[in-house]
Structure formats: structure tokens, C-alpha cells
């Protein structure tokens, strides 16, 4: 009988606990190193050199980085992103939170329908989202312009200097509100039912329960979504890139830092400087996320 466990195994590959984690990590990590770490190292290498049309390539050390720090094209883009983020993130997450609370309250018709419907824009490629909204924004062909014309009202101008940032923010809200809503909704659903019963025994109304019990409980989730939104915002690229044809005067070649990096590499052929810009942007992203986390933690403590 003692032979039962150990010896009857049929030539099966037996992986032990000490080897297993490496084996499980191998496929991801191999690809992670090949397509993330290696390109990053390569890009970092690039950022230390300077290739010119005439003089060839030379090592310049930190010169590209020093240049980024005094490059208004880069910092204008960063400032613009801050404006964009301060506008878009609160609206998007505020709506997501509001609608998640409404859906979770149980006091609606068609809860499942709305939940899915709100999520659908996430499935629309940003290329197509930008294209569709581009049409919708058009003063002549856009339905809003057409409606205004029909009622002899001034046409709404979505693509002017003062409004286009809002118009891009609107696309981002449209695309990602539902995604955040689903996350909040799931977090809300995880709150034990007896809390609602307890608060109701304590005399709280549904609204009070939502704001004073549920909201604080899902705060950790909210903080995570804010951080991800900050990261997403600072990497803004596709929407302005694709909307550029509609408002080339306003969306210039360094509208966002990511866009600037793209222009530097692909139009100006300054691959080295572009790499440095990307790294500084990555640094800005890290710093902003970190500062936000510090603030959030201090609040929580």
C-alpha cells in the first residue's frame, strides 16, 4: 500500500513547486522582456545619441534630456494634458460613479440593459470613435449643426480653439465612462447586503446610504480608476491624432507630448530626441501618479 502514491505515476512530467513559478512566468516574461524591456532599453540607448542628416551619429549623453526640460513644445503639451485631465477625469468618473450608484440602488427599470449599453462604446475602436464624432461635430454635416440650422440658431462650434479640447474630452468620456461604471458597479455589488439593512434600521435614506456608506467603501476602487485615468490621459494620442485633419490649426504637431514624440520620430526624423521625450513623459506620468497616490493615502489616513 505505501507504494500507492509515489510509484504509480505514469511517466507524466512532474513539475515541482520550486520550478513551477518560473515555468508559469516564462511565456509572459519572455514576451515581456522581448517586447517591453528590450525596446525600452533600446529606446533608452537611442536617447543618449544624436543622429543628424549631415554629421552622422554621436554620443551626447544627457543632452537630449536637458533639451526636453527647456522645450516649450513638450511642456505646452503637458500643460494641455493637465487641463484636459482636470476636465475629463472628474466628468467621466463622476458620471460613472453616479450611474453605478443609480444602477446599484435597485430603483431602476432595465438595469442590465443600461449596464451593457453604457459599456458598448468601449468596444468601438478609437479610430472609428474619432471618425464618428468628427462627423457629428461638423458644422455643416453634423446633425447638431443641421439641427441648429433648422431652427435658425447659431451653429455649435465643436472644433474651434476654445472648444476642441472639450470635444476631444467628450470622446474620451464617451469611450470610457461605461468601462469605469462596470468596475464601480462590481465593487458596489460586493458590499454586503446587511449594511443596507443596518443603515436603514439606523434611519438612513437610500441617498444617505449611497453617499455615506457605499461611496466610502468603494473609495479604494475609485482611487485605482483615477490613477489609471491619469495614466491614460497623459498618454493621450489617438483621438487628437485622428481629429487633426478636422482642426489642423489647433491640433498642431506637438499638441500632446505623445503626439510630439510621434512627430519628432516620424516627421522630423529625430528618433533620438523623440526617445528622450518619451522617457521624460513616462517620468511625468510616474511622478503625477505617485503624487496622487500620496495625496489619496494622506486623505485616507
Amino acid at each position: 500500500m505505501p507504494d500507492a502514491v509515489a510509484t504509480r505515476r505514469r511517466g507524466r512530467v512532474y513539475v515541482t513547486k520550486s520550478v513551477a513559478p518560473y515555468l508559469f512566468l516564462l511565456p509572459f516574461m519572455a514576451l515581456f522582456i522581448a517586447f517591453l524591456i528590450a525596446p525600452l532599453c533600446y529606446a533608452f540607448g537611442l536617447s543618449l545619441f544624436k543622429t543628424t542628416m549631415v554629421a552622422g551619429t554621436q554620443f551626447v549623453g544627457a543632452a537630449n534630456y536637458l533639451k526636453v526640460f527647456t522645450d516649450p513644445s513638450f511642456w505646452d503639451g503637458v500643460v494641455l494634458l493637465f487641463k484636459f485631465g482636470l476636465m475629463q477625469i472628474p466628468i467621466m468618473l463622476g458620471l460613472a460613479l453616479l450611474y453605478a450608484l443609480i444602477l446599484d440602488s435597485g430603483r431602476v427599470y432595465g438595469r442590465n440593459f443600461f449596464r451593457i449599453a453604457f459599456f458598448i462604446p468601449y468596444a468601438v475602436p478609437s479610430v472609428i470613435a474619432a471618425l464618428l464624432w468628427g462627423y457629428l461635430y461638423g458644422p455643416s454635416f453634423g446633425p447638431f449643426g443641421q439641427l441648429a440650422e433648422f431652427f435658425h440658431l447659431p451653429k455649435p462650434q465643436f472644433l474651434l480653439d476654445g472648444t476642441i479640447l472639450g470635444s476631444i474630452a467628450n470622446i474620451a468620456v464617451w469611450e470610457f465612462m461605461g468601462y469605469n461604471l462596470i468596475i464601480y458597479f462590481a465593487a458596489l455589488q460586493a458590499i454586503p447586503q446587511d449594511l443596507e439593512e443596518a443603515s436603514s434600521v439606523d434611519g438612513a435614506t437610500g441617498l444617505q446610504y449611497a453617499l455615506r456608506i457605499k461611496l466610502p467603501l468603494i473609495m479604494p476602487t475609485v482611487i485605482v480608476t483615477i490613477i489609471f485615468s491619469i495614466i491614460g490621459t497623459l498618454q493621450l494620442f489617438s483621438e487628437p491624432y485622428l481629429m487633426r485633419n478636422l482642426a489642423p490649426g489647433i491640433i498642431n504637431s506637438h499638441y500632446t507630448p505623445n503626439f510630439y514624440a510621434y512627430t519628432l520620430a516620424f516627421t522630423n526624423q529625430q528618433y533620438n530626441y523623440s526617445a528622450a521625450v518619451s522617457f521624460v513623459l513616462g517620468g511625468v506620468v510616474a511622478v503625477v501618479s505617485y503624487v496622487f497616490m500620496l495625496l489619496a493615502n494622506r486623505r485616507a489616513a
Partner: protein, 437 residues
């Protein structure tokens, strides 16, 4: 070499005739091109003009051992991005690429354009002079032209008649008409000031005598903000300030609609525009007309070019002779070249086609039966050939678009935009190692 190339030319002409007579297959073997044609060769061409494969197949029909695959890797900008990326990567370049006139200096600078002289110089005389000058440097030829864009004026006959506007022969008259139209018919504009297309700006300034670049080796003269530019900027600034021109981004559906709806009464544009408009517009059929480009001096006969393309071979191609042969064929073969005009509706670069009255004199219903091409034929012969593009023209275009758009949006005047442009381009050129003067 000299001798060889002459002999080759002779043989090639004979060959073409023979091929035309349907004797291609047997003729090939006996030619000095034997090396070219004997092995099966496939060439890769990056081009975005629709149906380019049709002409490529015509070539293969004549040279059965050389097949050509056409790939569209992107329209305009993205196409060049792909080329540059491949250059940067050191691999992945096609054998040949479509190359607009204004991109030739840039890619020449990068050292990737093969000299097609041996195959192309013999047919040099068939091309409109300025187009050949734009692609060649002495005996060296960096691209074979097959499409050009001499400038002219397209206008709305209905709007002009309704508002009693004469066809403006000069820019002064054009300005007056703009102001008049702005007063008489609010909401209608004589034109759209299309700064979002740097190519248009360069073309219009070209006519005004602007010569911003002259490159010799690593020395470059940069005069983007000279008096000509400033004067030109002042001209348009006045119209912008008077709200006598529209400032829509070009190439958007909104912009097409403005032309179609008569919001824009005219467009100073190139020879490829008439067919483009005809294909894109439904409402304004029969309402458009063509006229010569307005002149800076009354009675002047100077025009310029906007757009137009060549085929260039890459130095990396393993089949330089076949590539040169193909590029030359695409530009100069009478049948293929005629097809550029009749199928792709491009404006020809061959003297024979320009002079072809039947081809150029066809009336066009979209233009009220006017033979619009005749206007551009005249323009083609008046293009000032002395214009030079920068060896980093994409950067110039990008920056020009940024700076001029910023001025339109309220950051200073157009003249300021040229000053900013000059500073940035000089800085860039210096940074790239050029000696700027």
C-alpha cells in the same frame, strides 16, 4: 559607358517599337537588356495612387520576366513615414516608391534614391522641362515624373455672375473681388485660405518668387521670411482681418461641402483638382469654370506647381537596372502615360500628351462644357523651374502648418508666423549639421 548607354537607348527604342508590334517575347532575348530580362524578377513598388497596378501590369506584359507588385502603405505623409522608418531600420525598403516632387530632395539627402540616369536620360526630352529639372541634377536622375500640378484658378460661374465679379487676372483684382463678395454676399467667400496644406502655401508663394531654400552639399541658404513672404503674408492678412476669406481646414468634408455649396467661390489650385472636384461634388455640376492663375503683375505669365509625383528607385534594390527601366516606362511609355491621364485623371508631364489637342481639349460637363485642361496646359508651360525644396521639407511643412495655423488662430500675424518659421527651420537645419547662411 557613354557609348553603352547610347546603344542601349537605341535598342530600347527599337525594343519598344517591337513590343508595341506584339513581338515582345521574342525580342527580349536578343537585347543588351538580356541580363535584365532573363531572370525572373519581382519588383516592389510603394504607391498610393489608385490602380497603379494597371500600369505596372502593362509593364510586365512588355517585360514578362519582370513583375511588379504595388503596395499602398499610406497616403502622402504616412507613406514617407514608412519609407523613413525602413531607412532607419536598415531593412524593408521597397525597390521603388512613389515620390512627390517636394520629397525628392529629402530622400536624396538620405542617400536612398538611385540614379536612374542611364535608363532615363535618353527620354529626357520627352518631359516638360521644369519637371525634369525638379528630379535631376545634371546627368543624375532621381525620379521619373508622371504627374504634375500646374496651378490655375477654378471658380464658381454662378456666384461670379450673381455678384457681378470679373475673372480676376491679377492678385489685386482677386483681393478686390474678395472684399466685394464679403460685402455683397455675407457668408460667401471668394476663397479659403488653406494654410493647413503647406504644399498649397509653397505653391502660391512659388509663383510670387519666393525661393526659401538653396542647398549645395551641406551648405544651405534659408530665406523663409524674406520680403516676398512678408508681402504675401500682408496680402492675405488684410483679407483675413476683413473676414473676406474663409479659414477652414482643407480636405475635410466640411471644406468639400463649402466648395460644393458655393460658400467658396473660387480655389487657386492645381491641374489635378478639376477631376477631383468632379468626383467629389454633386450639387455644383456645370457651375464651375477654370481660368489662369492670378498674376502679381498685370499681364504676367508666371505659374507654379502644386503636387505631382515621380517614381524613384531605392539604392537598396537588388535590381537597379530593372527598377530604372520600370520607372522610366511608367513615366514615358506613351500608352501607360496616357492612361495616367485618362484613368487616374492625373495631369501629364510628357510634352506629347500636353500637346495632344484631343486629350487636353476635351470639353467637360462639370465645367459647363469648358475644356478646363487647356487652361492648365498653358500653365504647365509657364511654371517657373527655379524653385527648390528643402532636404527636410516635411519638417518645414509641418512647422509651417503649425505656425501659420497658430497665427490664424490669433497668435500674431501671418508675417510673424514666417519669422517663427525661419527661426525654427534654421535651428533645425543647424541641429542637423547643415551650415546655414
Amino acid at each position: 559607358m557613354e557609348k553603352d548607354s547610347k546603344r542601349m537607348t537605341l535598342d530600347r527604342r527599337q525594343f519598344m517599337q517591337a513590343a508595341g508590334a506584339g513581338l515582345a517575347a521574342t525580342a527580349v532575348a536578343g537585347l543588351p537588356f538580356a541580363a535584365v530580362a532573363q531572370d525572373k524578377v519581382e519588383l516592389l513598388l510603394w504607391a498610393w495612387t489608385p490602380d497603379t497596378q494597371v500600369q505596372a501590369d502593362m509593364f510586365t506584359k512588355k517585360y514578362p520576366n519582370i513583375s511588379v507588385k504595388v503596395e499602398n502603405v499610406g497616403q502622402g505623409g504616412p507613406h514617407y513615414v514608412k519609407l523613413r522608418n525602413a531607412i532607419q531600420a536598415g531593412t524593408g525598403l521597397p525597390d521603388l516608391a512613389q515620390m512627390e516632387f517636394n520629397s525628392i530632395p529629402s530622400f536624396k539627402q538620405l542617400g536612398v534614391l538611385a540614379d536612374l540616369g542611364a535608363a532615363a536620360n535618353p527620354v529626357k526630352d520627352q518631359f516638360i522641362d521644369w519637371t525634369w529639372k525638379a528630379v535631376s541634377d545634371g546627368d543624375k536622375v532621381y525620379g521619373i515624373p508622371w504627374d504634375s500640378g500646374p496651378m490655375g484658378l477654378l471658380y464658381r460661374n454662378d456666384v461670379f455672375e450673381k455678384n457681378k465679379i470679373e475673372i480676376p487676372g491679377t492678385w489685386d483684382a482677386y483681393s478686390e473681388a474678395s472684399l466685394k463678395l464679403a460685402t455683397d454676399a455675407p457668408g460667401t467667400y471668394m476663397s479659403n485660405f488653406g494654410v493647413s496644406d503647406a504644399g498649397w502655401v509653397a505653391a502660391v508663394l512659388w509663383q510670387a518668387g519666393w525661393r526659401p531654400f538653396h542647398t549645395e552639399g551641406t551648405d544651405i541658404q534659408i530665406k523663409l521670411n524674406d520680403d516676398i513672404a512678408k508681402k504675401w503674408a500682408g496680402y492675405w492678412q488684410k483679407l483675413i482681418d476683413a473676414k473676406a476669406v474663409d479659414t477652414k481646414p482643407m480636405w475635410t468634408t466640411e471644406w468639400f461641402a463649402a466648395l460644393d455649396d458655393g460658400v467658396h467661390a473660387s480655389w487657386v489650385t492645381a491641374a489635378w483638382a478639376p477631376v477631383l472636384m468632379q468626383n467629389s461634388m454633386k450639387k455644383s455640376v456645370g457651375l464651375w469654370r477654370a481660368a489662369p492663375m492670378p498674376q502679381w503683375t498685370a499681364g504676367g505669365t508666371v505659374t507654379s506647381n502644386w503636387g505631382g509625383s515621380t517614381f524613384a528607385a531605392m539604392t537598396t534594390t537588388p535590381h537597379p537596372e530593372e527598377a530604372a527601366l520600370f520607372a522610366t516606362f511608367m513615366g514615358s511609355d506613351p500608352e501607360a502615360a496616357a492612361l495616367w491621364n485618362s484613368k487616374q485623371f492625373l495631369f501629364p508631364v510628357l510634352k506629347s500628351l500636353i500637346d495632344d489637342k484631343a486629350l487636353m481639349g476635351a470639353p467637360n460637363a462639370f465645367y459647363g462644357g469648358q475644356a478646363v485642361n487647356e487652361v492648365f496646359v498653358v500653365s504647365e508651360n509657364q511654371v517657373d523651374p527655379s524653385f527648390e525644396f528643402a532636404p527636410f521639407q516635411d519638417f518645414v511643412n509641418q512647422t509651417m502648418q503649425d505656425e501659420m495655423s497658430a497665427s490664424i488662430a490669433g497668435t500674431g500675424t501671418l508675417a510673424d508666423a514666417f519669422d517663427r518659421l525661419q527661426d525654427k527651420v534654421v535651428a533645425y537645419a543647424t541641429d542637423q549639421g547643415y551650415t546655414v547662411s
